[in-house]
C-alpha cells in the first residue's frame, strides 16, 4: 500500500461521513482540530518510521494526502542518505 493510500485511509477512518481524495485540502473542509493535528503527526511518524523536524511542521505539508505523502518521501530519502 502506498503511503498516500495509508494516509487517506487514516483520515477517512476518522471522518467516515466525508468524501476525501488525495488532493483535497482537509483544513479547508474544517476537519482539523488540535487533537486530530496531533494524531495526524503521530500517525505519519509511527507508520512510516520518520521524525518530522520542527522546520517541516508546517500546515502546507499536511493539507492534503498528496502533501503528506511527499513529506514522507522527502524524510525517508534523507534517512537513506544519512
Amino acid at each position: 500500500m502506498s503511503s498516500k493510500t495509508q494516509i487517506l485511509d487514516f483520515i477517512r477512518g476518522r471522518y467516515p461521513q466525508a468524501e476525501i481524495d488525495e488532493s483535497q485540502d482537509i483544513f479547508a473542509l474544517g476537519f482539523v482540530n488540535s487533537l486530530f493535528a496531533m494524531e495526524l503527526v503521530m500517525f505519519v511518524e509511527k507508520t512510516f518510521g520518520v521524525t518530522i523536524p520542527n522546520e517541516e511542521l508546517r500546515i502546507d505539508n499536511f493539507r492534503t494526502a498528496d502533501a503528506m505523502s511527499a513529506l514522507v518521501s522527502r524524510l525517508s530519502s534523507d534517512l537513506a542518505v544519512a
Binding site: 476518522r14 483544513f27 474544517g30 482539523v32 482540530n33 488540535s34 487533537l35 493535528a37 496531533m38
Partner: protein, 357 residues
C-alpha cells in the same frame, strides 16, 4: 496530566511542599472505631472526617484501601455521608500496595503524590516495602503528619475546592467514552462543551500562576510568571492577559488556558500561551490561539509568537503549526513564529465559544 515515573531506588526530588495530592485511607480502626465485619456496628471518628473535609476544600483528593466486604463498606460510607469524598475506593482483599497502584493509575498521579493512612503496622510496612514512594502515616500520628509541608498544598485557589468534582466529572466522561461507539468527533459533539475566554480577573491570578508553574507539555515558552507579574500585566494597557475555561455536561474542567499578548500598533506579540493537559484530548487547543488571531486581524495587526522548544512542548508546536504559524527567526531553541491571518480557522463545530469582555 503527567505521570511521574521515578527510577527505582531514586527518592522524589520534587519540592516537598504540597507533594501529597491524594490520601488513601484504611477504614477499620482508622476512619471509624471498630471492625465492620466483626463488630457489625462501627462509630466514625469525627476528627478524621473533619481533616478529610478540610483537605478536600484545599484540593487534596481522598481514596480508600480497605480489606473488607466491598458492598458492606460502601453501604457504611454511604450511610455516613462520606461515599462521594472518595475517588476510586479499593475495597477488596488484595495487598494495599496494589490498591494504591490502581488508584494512582486511575487518577493519573505519580505514586510519590500519595499518602497512606492505616492503624496496622503490617499494612504500612507492606506498602512501604512495595511502593516506597508512598508516604505512610500511622493514624495515631495523623495530626503531626498533616502539619508537614508535603500535606500543605502549594496553591489553594478558588478551583481547589472543585478538584474532586472535576475528577468525578472526568470519571463519568471516561465511562461514557469507553462505551461510546462512533468517531471521536461524534463523542466530542455529545459532550456539549462550552469554551469561555475572558480577560484575567484578580481572582484568576493564583490559578494562572499555578498553570504557568505546572504546565510543561502544552506551554509555548515554558516561562513562569509570578502573581505580581501577572497582576501588573493584567492592568497594563499594552497587554492582553486572557484566561480560558471549559465546561461540558459533566461539569467544569476549570480554568485551563492562559495567553499573554503584548499589543504593538502594527504587530502583536504572543509572549506565552499554555493549555492544561486536562483538556489535551478535547480538541480545543487551537480555540484560544484562533481567538487571538481574530482579535489581531480585527485590529489590523500581525501576530508573532515566541516559542521556546523545551523538548516537552512539541504538542504545542504542532498546535501553532496547524494554526498556520511559520518560523520567521530562530536563535537556538528560541523561535519566533508568524501567523497567517488570512487563514484563521473557526472553532470546531462541537465547541460553543463564549467571549467575555
Amino acid at each position: 496530566m503527567t505521570v511521574t515515573t521515578e527510577r527505582p531506588g531514586a527518592l522524589p526530588v520534587k519540592p516537598a511542599r504540597g507533594r501529597i495530592k491524594c490520601i488513601v485511607w484504611d477504614l477499620d480502626n482508622t476512619l471509624w472505631n471498630g471492625v465492620l465485619l466483626e463488630d457489625g456496628d462501627v462509630t466514625v471518628r469525627p476528627a478524621v472526617v473533619e481533616r478529610i473535609h478540610e483537605l478536600d476544600r484545599k484540593g487534596v483528593l481522598h481514596s480508600v484501601a480497605s480489606k473488607n466486604d466491598r458492598d458492606a463498606a460502601l453501604a457504611k460510607l454511604r450511610e455516613l455521608g462520606l461515599e462521594e469524598m472518595f475517588l476510586h475506593p479499593q475495597i477488596n482483599w488484595n495487598a494495599k500496595s496494589d490498591s494504591i497502584k490502581v488508584i494512582a493509575k486511575a487518577l493519573n498521579l505519580g505514586l510519590d503524590a500519595f499518602a497512606f493512612v492505616d492503624d496496622q503496622e503490617f499494612e504500612r510496612a507492606e506498602v512501604a516495602h512495595q511502593v516506597p514512594e508512598v508516604t505512610c502515616v500511622d493514624i495515631l500520628e495523623l495530626d503531626e503528619a498533616l502539619a508537614r509541608p508535603e500535606f500543605r498544598p502549594r496553591f489553594v485557589t478558588d478551583e481547589s475546592a472543585q478538584r474532586r468534582a472535576m475528577y468525578q466529572g472526568q470519571i463519568a466522561r471516561d465511562e461514557l467514552e469507553q462505551e461510546f461507539v462512533g468517531t471521536s468527533e461524534e463523542f466530542l459533539a455529545g459532550l456539549g462543551m462550552t469554551f469561555t475566554i475572558a480577560p484575567a480577573r484578580r481572582e484568576d491570578l493564583q490559578r494562572a500562576e499555578e498553570l504557568t508553574v505546572r504546565t510543561n507539555q502544552l506551554n509555548s515558552t515554558g516561562r513562569t510568571y509570578s502573581y505580581d507579574e501577572l497582576d501588573a500585566l493584567r492592568e497594563s494597557p499594552d497587554h492582553l492577559l486572557l484566561v480560558a475555561s471549559l465546561t461540558d455536561k459533566f461539569g467544569s474542567y476549570g480554568k485551563i488556558g492562559l495567553a499573554l499578548v503584548e499589543k504593538g500598533a502594527d504587530s502583536w506579540r504572543l509572549c506565552m500561551m499554555l493549555m492544561s493537559c486536562r483538556v489535551m484530548s478535547r480538541g480545543v487547543g487551537m480555540v484560544l490561539l484562533n481567538h487571538i488571531l481574530r482579535l489581531a486581524a480585527g485590529a489590523g495587526a500581525a501576530v508573532r509568537a515566541d516559542f521556546v522548544e523545551t523538548g516537552r512542548n512539541r504538542m504545542m508546536q504542532i498546535t501553532y503549526a496547524f494554526a498556520g504559524f511559520r518560523e520567521v527567526s530562530r536563535d537556538g531553541a528560541n523561535v519566533v513564529l508568524e501567523a497567517d491571518l488570512d487563514a484563521v480557522q473557526p472553532p470546531p463545530a462541537y465547541v460553543k465559544l463564549e467571549i467575555a469582555e
